[in-house]
């Protein structure tokens, strides 16, 4: 008998029109039991009363073919109610008081889903298993909000109203009416006591952390900007689930590709092509509507709503309302928009005389204990977390529920049963699911094939993403047609739908690595598609754990994380892979294609905004990469990603013998590290930040690796550059070719050490250029310290360094010197030495250089220094590295100058120096050639 009933049932559900016929014939049908099983009149899905019952309706005691509490015979009710509400093809129109489960409304009412699947969705979303235990993972209850901080969160008046009439106050709420069976006065008493008790459920507020990188205004919930909140509300994703405000003007007027197609077809064609679903508007949650102002004003304070939006998981651990990764000020802006009313309040006064819901002081002790009794009696703790340990109710297990009870939570609930206000579509779906569960058989297998999609419907992933359900070949979900205009590409670049709508999840388990899949949901993961205004919400790991674990299996990823897919033997046959630098080849291939649209380590060509391809192996699986690059359109319909291998052929036959698969492997190899960045990107970076002296020398003060933190780098159009240490007053290093990249110095927070870009780098002679000795008998070395005084921009823009030592003032001009080709490269240094000229510039120094006794002082200029020095001519000395220093001209040279070439000792380098005699102005021209 049972088998037959199930058969009937399945067929009936598939054909609602037939169902109506059967319903009309119900009195007859009931006699052979069909209606009992089908419609669950007598005791179906009933909360067992054990523990609550004082109204005497115990399910076990109710006769199978009974009469409901109100005395109306079952069959009449069936006819009276169902026929009115049901129309052929599914009503598509929910009862306005019926619970609203988004995916059920969108898919379940429209035959997109098998009834048992749709029903199982309702079972989880209506939290049936909170009372009727079941081990079935997918049926685990959504459960209600955590109430342990209700005192901060909810306005007592609203709680009272809501508990009294949940469906009227919050249309579409999945919270059943538990008090419908009470007399008005009893109801009032229970409602008041519970509301009062909830006021005492208070925890310390969890405020966002404020620091130098996290702006948090004091009482930021009061400082939101409603206009900005309105923009956020309509652009970051809220309107995928909640209704939009008709006064908001969406930004995008370009219809998506699919919509354009639909517009070109006539309705019959659309029907034939099975695209009718795409024309339906996507239902949005009714109990909050942005259009109706002030709906939330009576429920929340600004503080409560703002903190909720910042961290919804704290209150709603089910993840049905995810975190939109808001900053505190964004949460305040959204809250200001949603609560835009003069009546909205800042925060709820919290009664801190009560701890954990129990009022301190005797007066209301009685009230509190009555509240606790009621909370227990109505099973509140079955769905809601509270601070107090409240016993839960246990009802009959889900698999043991009788589907033929006259009175149940589904329909005709007795006074002690929750009342859900289900409509007929919902009722049918749930019964179907229960039957499938209890009977196994055909339905069960079908339900199992929906495992991934069902979770995606519970969390409403499909509100934003579409996904192909393999068995039914249906593509479900995606941003609704009416909602699409709200979502844009941030930079207004035209990337088509890919640039503004969330990606398809078809086969996503085979695309993303397990780690990347888990990462998608984590709050700390950087946005992968920052070019979209819509945001991927974050979810608590416990919410998405099943998806993360099962999707790869469901989508057939198998063990295909291995890179071996690139190197199948039929591909590599006849090729010698040894010594191939795949990474280098990959870099070249990437440089010819991918760079045009994609980012690499946040660097990009102008206008390129595609996803960042860096560290590819952490994100996608090799097999997917291979398949996708080979033929992008096969994996992503209407993608803008072009194929680089038309007809399966590479346009670079010169690389890896044109072997497509190996070329893809090479790209993969390169994209792991993307180091160095592709040439084209480097060119752009250079163009932006490489300093190219064109007509005049360029100067940069910076930190340099070999020069220190007081470096002054000077680049010349002639292509010979140098770096000067203004702390030790020393010409440190020279190089040729490219000069410097200034980005680190100009714009990087960590001010990295700059390195010369060019070649032929040489360290110029070490040690002090200048020293003063004093005295004629006993010589005091280093009698004065050299003191840097800045620089002057001299002729042709060449900086002339100014310094002082003792009573000498020195001007030091360093610039390239032209020498015949083939003789290397040379710098020329003109030292103008003036004594007793007075200080050109007063430099503040904590320990000022002492004033020397002039008459007995001598200035020593050290021209060269090295492990080995060799004199090539009287005024030319070469070191072991080949650096030649020559003094090409001495202004007013004197016989009395002392030139010395001191050979190296065990501890000291060899030194070539001149001790200047006399006190007139001197000019030394020193040339460094290498």
């Amino acid at each position: 008998m049972m088998a037959m009933i199930e058969l009937h049932f399945v067929r009936l559900i598939r054909s609602p029109f037939l169902l109506c016929v059967v319903l009309i014939a119900a009195p007859v049908a009931r006699n052979n039991g069909i209606s009992n099983a089908l419609l669950g009149q007598n005791g179906a899905a009933q909360i067992a009363d054990d523990g609550v019952a004082d109204d005497g309706v115990a399910d076990d005691g109710v006769p199978d073919a009974g009469v409901a509490d109100d005395g109306v015979p079952d069959a009449e009710r069936v006819i009276g109610e169902r026929l009115v509400q049901t129309s052929p093809g599914g009503s598509g129109e929910p009862d306005s008081l019926a619970p609203f489960v988004t995916a059920f409304e969108r898919f379940g009412r429209h035959e997109d889903l098998p009834a048992a699947v749709a029903g199982s969705l309702l079972i989880s979303e209506l939290s049936c298993v909170a009372c009727h235990a079941s081990a079935e993972q997918p049926l685990q209850p959504k459960s209600g909000p955590d109430l342990s901080d209700a005192g901060h969160r909810l306005q007592p008046d609203w709680v009272r109203d809501f508990l009294g009439q949940p469906h009227q106050v919050s249309p579409g709420s999945t919270m059943p009416d538990l008090l419908h069976g009470l007399e008005p006065s009893d109801r009032e008493r229970v409602v008041t006591s519970i509301a009062d008790w909830l006021e005492g459920q208070v925890r310390p507020l969890q405020l966002p952390k404020a620091n130098g990188i996290s702006p948090v205004l004091h009482q930021f919930w009061d400082k939101g900007n409603a206009d900005h909140g309105k923009v956020l509300y309509h652009t970051i994703g809220c309107v995928a689930c909640h209704s939009a405000d008709p006064t908001y003007e969406p930004g995008t007027r370009v219809p998506s590709g699919m919509d354009q197609l639909l517009e070109q077809l006539d309705p019959e064609e659309i029907e034939e092509m099975g695209l009718a679903r795409l024309l339906r508007s996507v239902p949005t949650l009714p109990h909050f509507q942005a259009t109706a102002e002030n709906q939330l004003v009576g429920k929340y304070s600004k503080q409560a709503l703002t903190l909720f939006l910042l961290n919804p998981h704290l209150v709603r651990p089910s993840g049905r309302m995810p975190s939109l990764r808001l900053s505190p000020s964004e949460a305040a802006d959204l809250s200001a928009y949603l609560l835009r009313s003069e009546d909205s309040i800042s925060e709820l006064p919290v009664d801190d005389t009560r701890v954990g819901g129990v009022r301190v002081g005797a007066i209301s002790q009685r009230g509190d204990s009555f509240a606790l009794q009621s909370i227990q009696k109505f099973g509140c703790a079955n769905c809601h977390q509270m601070q107090n340990e409240v016993p839960t109710l246990e009802a009959r297990k889900l698999v043991e529920l009788k589907l033929n009870s006259a009175s149940s939570c589904l329909e005709n609930p007795s006074t002690s049963m929750p009342k859900y206000q289900l409509d007929s579509d919902q009722l049918r779906a749930i019964i179907s699911a229960l039957e499938s569960l209890q009977g196994g058989g055909e339905g069960a297998g079908e339900v199992a094939s929906w495992a991934a999609e069902r979770r995606m419907m519970q969390l409403n992933c499909l509100g934003c993403h579409e996904r192909l359900h393999n068995e039914s070949a249906l593509v479900l979900g995606g941003i609704g047609r009416d909602q699409k205009p709200y979502f844009e590409t941030t930079s207004k670049v035209d990337l088509g739908d890919e640039g503004r709508l969330p990606p398809s999840l078809t086969g996503v388990g085979a695309k993303l690595t397990s780690k990347a899949l888990a990462g998608v949901f984590e709050a700390k993961t950087k946005r992968h598609r920052p070019f979209m205004t819509i945001r991927m919400p974050s979810y608590h790991a416990s919410v998405v754990d099943q998806l993360v674990r099962h999707l790869p299996v469901i989508d057939g990823a198998g063990s295909k994380e291995s890179e071996a897919v690139f190197f199948a033997s039929d591909v590599t046959d006849g090729l010698n892979l040894d010594g191939l630098n795949l990474e280098a080849v990959g870099r070249e291939l990437v440089n010819t294609g991918c760079v045009e649209c994609h980012l690499f380590r946040e660097e990009n060509l102008p206008g390129a905004v595609g996803v960042d391809l860096h560290a590819i192996e952490g994100r996608v699986r090799p097999q997917w990469f291979l398949d996708f690059i080979k033929s992008p359109g096969d994996l992503k319909t209407r993608t803008r990603m072009p194929t680089f291998f038309p007809d399966g052929k590479s346009n670079r036959p010169d690389l890896l013998e044109g072997n497509v698969q190996l070329q893809i492997a090479a790209m993969w190899q390169y994209l792991k590290k993307t180091d160095p960045l592709p040439d084209k990107i480097q060119e752009v970076m250079r163009r932006d930040f490489e300093l190219v002296p064109s007509d005049k020398p360029l100067v940069v003060r910076t930190f340099m690796r070999n020069v220190g933190t007081h470096a002054i780098a000077v680049g010349f159009p002639q292509g010979i550059h140098f770096a000067f240490d203004s702390e030790r007053v020393h010409l440190e290093e020279s190089w040729t070719g490219k000069y410097l990249d200034a980005r680190g110095t100009w714009f990087e927070r960590f001010v990295p050490l700059t390195e010369p870009l060019g070649e032929h780098r040489i360290q110029l002679p070490a040690g002090d250029l200048l020293a003063v000795t004093r005295g004629e008998g006993s010589v005091v070395k280093d009698a004065a310290k050299v003191n840097f005084q800045g620089y002057r921009v001299g002729s042709e823009g060449v900086p002339v360094f100014l310094y002082q030592i003792g009573s000498w003032r020195i001007e030091d001009r360093i610039e390239p010197r032209e020498i015949p080709e083939g003789e290397g490269r040379a710098l020329q240094r003109t030292l103008r030495i003036v004594e007793d000229a007075g200080l050109v510039n007063s430099v503040g120094e904590v320990s000022a250089p002492e004033t020397p006794t002039r008459k007995t002082d001598h200035l020593i200029v050290t021209l060269h220094r090295g492990a080995e020095l060799r004199r090539q001519s009287p005024k030319q000395v070469i070191d072991q590295r080949g650096l030649v220093v020559s003094v090409s001209e001495i202004n007013q040279g004197r016989q009395s100058d002392l030139w010395r070439l001191i050979p190296a000792t065990e501890t000291d380098d060899a030194v070539w120096q001149v001790e200047l005699n006399g006190h007139a102005e001197r000019i030394l021209k020193v040339v460094y050639q290498w």
Partner: protein, 525 residues
């Protein structure tokens, strides 16, 4: 070298700012009294803390780090990439066309600009530099070292701020401490530093260049002293930012021999010339009043800015020297706020010869972090913006905005003065005597902070205070509130939400935070 950059490249983000400003509300808001004019604001394509930060592809990267007016009323600015630009057209409203002229380049992250004896002075990472245009072609041709000798290990926190000139003609430069030095940087720290601290020379010190050319390490204990300002009496002040040893943001009087908070600056204590020396012991983990007892050199700030309530990162200090062109707060300080992108206000008085006073929230809503401030000839406040390195509210990464008084006088607590038995409040407009005489119109509490090496401090030893009496002056401009249990070295926080003006309007900002280092002897009137 003159670039003309019209305003058409203002990014779409700015539309949002416009929308914000235009949001009509019945209750007056800050923008009804002080409006923000955007001269330029740009958005970086990268986040403010990105390692790969880059400026907007359009226009000059105007990350303003120093500002000074030239005699011809052009605005000279330093930008963080190391240039000095002269901006013309800055007073236009609406902004028609700003012209930019580059005066100097090749500076290493200059963080201040001052016209002094005819030349522009700026502190670079490694020296105080005097810029001279000797040949008069409008471009600097001398970059002369005006003062130097502080350590630069290469750590990025080692900013040098300034200079500012005090009433005696001294130029002040403040040196940020290094933080989290890497191995290479540690090589450049002081050998044999006091207490074994690893810091470069004079890091965390306030340096003073006297008119005679003496360069004096005058005071120590600074952490991130990013703002220097001088009041009407010619006394110089600096702001510091919350962190290790620094309980919350603060404002200090700069003077020789003072030690402020951060112990690591004492690494340089034993160097010749140091004006803070001979400190034997640094207590760690005491309540501020107890720490001062144990460590008498420790100078409490003139102002604590309670965290979040009055900003998260105090920056520049500017005196309203306009004689009323900027509204009713002439003679008071305005302090820039980096993280919250705003301005806060400071009233100072001297009690027992030491500065102390109250701070007040003033204006939020700038497009980015407020790093530099200067007052224009019309009294308006120019705000130089740059959020790079940290984070800030607002929609832009850098730029220049101007805060203009609309001519409407906001109802504000203008001054809060210490009295023997409470405080005297002075208002910008007469109060409604009925509401203002109710003691319960004023909610007060007091708290202090911990002096410790950890990052920041909670408000500790919090205690509510009962206002016993509120006495309104005849003209309604002053209210004396009488309180029991004033505690020296505690912040006294006031919420005067119950006070109304004669039109029944509430205060624009009912909060005031008085740093009560000393209780005045005055009884009030």
């Amino acid at each position: 070298m003159v670039k003309k950059i019209a305003q058409f490249w203002l990014i779409p983000w700015m539309l949002l700012v416009g929308a914000r400003a235009g949001f009509a509300q019945e209750t007056p808001t800050e923008s009804d009294y002080y409006s923000i004019v955007t001269l330029t604001a740009s958005q970086s394509p990268t986040g403010s803390r990105s390692k790969h930060w880059k400026p907007s592809p359009d226009g000059l990267p105007l990350e303003i780090s120093g500002m000074e007016f030239l005699p011809d009323s052009r605005l000279a600015v330093t930008i963080r990439k190391g240039e000095v630009w002269f901006l013309d057209g800055v007073y236009d409203d609406p902004v028609e066309e700003l012209t930019y002229h580059r005066f100097a380049s090749a500076l290493h992250e200059p963080l201040g600009l001052l016209l002094h004896k005819g030349d522009l002075y700026t502190a670079q990472r490694s020296e105080l530099t005097r810029l001279r245009d000797v040949d008069g072609d409008g471009v600097a041709d001398e970059y002369l070292t005006a003062a130097k000798g502080w350590g630069v290990t290469g750590n990025y926190h080692e900013y040098a701020f300034g200079p500012e000139r005090d009433g005696d003609g001294n130029l002040w430069v403040t040196l940020n401490l290094g933080m989290g030095l890497n191995g290479d940087q540690r090589q450049r720290t002081l050998a044999d530093a006091a207490f074994g601290y690893r810091q470069g020379k004079w890091r965390g010190w306030g340096m003073k260049l006297t008119p005679d050319g003496d360069w004096i390490p005058a005071c120590a204990g600074m952490r991130s002293p990013s703002g220097i300002g001088v009041n009407g009496a010619g006394d110089a002040f600096y702001t510091d930012q919350q962190g290790n040893w620094v309980a919350t943001n603060s404002l200090h009087h700069l003077r020789e021999g003072a030690f402020y908070h951060h112990a690591e600056s004492l690494a340089s204590m034993n160097l010749p010339g140091a004006r803070v020396c001979d400190i034997k012991e640094i207590p760690d983990g005491l309540l501020l009043p107890d720490a001062i007892k144990r460590f008498p050199e420790l100078c409490p700030p003139a102002i604590w800015f309670p965290y979040k309530k009055v900003g998260q990162s105090a920056t520049d200090i500017v005196l309203d020297d306009s004689g009323g062109q900027f509204g009713p707060f002439s003679g008071q300080f305005f302090v820039g706020e980096f993280t919250q992108a705003g301005l806060n206000r400071v009233f100072l008085e001297k009690v027992d010869g030491q500065y102390q006073g109250a701070c007040f929230p003033f204006r939020l809503g700038f497009a980015s972090a407020v790093l530099r401030l200067i007052q224009g000839k019309d009294g308006s406040m120019f705000a130089g913006l740059s959020n790079r390195g940290w984070s800030s509210l607002g929609t832009a990464s850098y730029g220049l905005q101007r805060l203009v008084w609309t001519g409407q006088t906001p109802f504000e607590i203008k001054e809060m003065r210490s009295l023997e038995d409470g405080f005297e409040l002075r208002f910008t407009r007469p109060v409604d005597p009925q509401s203002a005489a109710r003691p319960d119109a004023y909610q007060m509490k007091s708290y202090t902070y911990l002096y410790h090496s950890s990052y920041g401090s909670d408000e500790v030893q919090m205690k509510p205070l009962v206002v016993k009496q509120a006495i309104v002056s005849d003209d309604g401009m002053r209210v004396r509130i009488v309180i029991d249990g004033l505690r020296p070295l505690f912040v006294h926080e006031l919420d005067a939400s119950g006070v109304r003006d004669r039109d029944g309007r509430a205060l624009l900002h009912p909060e005031a935070y008085y740093t009560l280092n000393r209780i005045a002897k005055s009884k009030g009137k």
